[in-house]
């Protein structure tokens, strides 16, 4: 089944991938890690990257569903 996934990048990761978001339409996406590799086939997932699905933190092994918003970003530095 083809899934539609919105991918978002923030802060230094946005600069290193050179985009703030991707819209993936792809079959065979299973986990957050798969989403990264599909969107960035030539770039390994950097160490320390945090991931969120629908604005909640998740592990990279978290399963994704059609319509999910998946975000990747470096450790947060607010406050």
């Amino acid at each position: 089944m083809t899934m539609s996934i919105k991918v978002r990048y923030f802060a230094s990761l946005k600069e290193s991938v050179g985009r703030s978001e991707d819209d993936l339409e792809f079959a065979g996406l299973s986990t957050v890690s798969d989403v990264w590799h599909c969107a960035n086939p030539k770039q390994a997932l950097p160490d320390n990257v945090l991931a969120a699905v629908n604005m909640d933190y998740v592990e990279l092994s978290h399963k994704v569903n059609d319509g999910d918003e998946v975000a990747f970003f470096p450790p947060v530095t607010g406050g």
Partner: protein, 150 residues
């Protein structure tokens, strides 16, 4: 309870006064208010800093802050909470974050406000990019642990 992401200058005294005046049901019930304000310094890691840009993840920021406040409300008998966080371009000496907790007893106010600040620092999706006096820009890489400062 209020959570605000603030793109313009943040006046903590005005925010506190206005919020407390609006929370009429709290009047006479709270005995303790613990407030934390984080302010931009003009130096960091040995360098002079002239400004900062705060990026955030709209939507996730509010969702995470609401979760953090709900956790604090589970852990302590909290009467009310105000969290305000700046985004956008910030200059030295400008406030970045305001956390205020109202409780009946002081121990709970201290504990809950500190909990919220630490959780905000580790979970709320904000990122700081510093503009140095040398004109170099750099992303702040990691927040320090507020319970064990060097």
């Amino acid at each position: 309870m209020a959570i605000k992401v603030c793109p313009a200058a943040l006046d903590p005294w005005h925010e506190l006064q206005a919020y407390q005046n609006s929370a009429k049901d709290m009047a006479g019930k709270f005995g303790a208010t613990s407030i934390f304000i984080g302010t931009m310094r003009d130096f960091n890691e040995g360098d002079d800093v002239k400004g900062m840009t705060l990026e955030h993840y709209p939507g996730m920021t509010e969702k995470q802050l609401e979760k953090i406040v709900a956790e604090a409300q589970q852990l302590w008998p909290v009467l009310d909470v105000l969290v305000v966080h700046r985004v956008g371009n910030i200059l030295p000496n400008e406030p970045i974050v305001l956390v205020a907790v109202w409780t009946s007893h002081r121990g709970d106010a201290f504990d809950a406000s500190r909990y919220i600040m630490e959780a905000l620092k580790s979970k709320a999706p904000f990122w700081k990019k510093e503009l140095l006096k040398s004109q170099d820009e750099r992303w702040v890489v990691k927040n320090t642990d507020g319970y064990k400062q060097l």
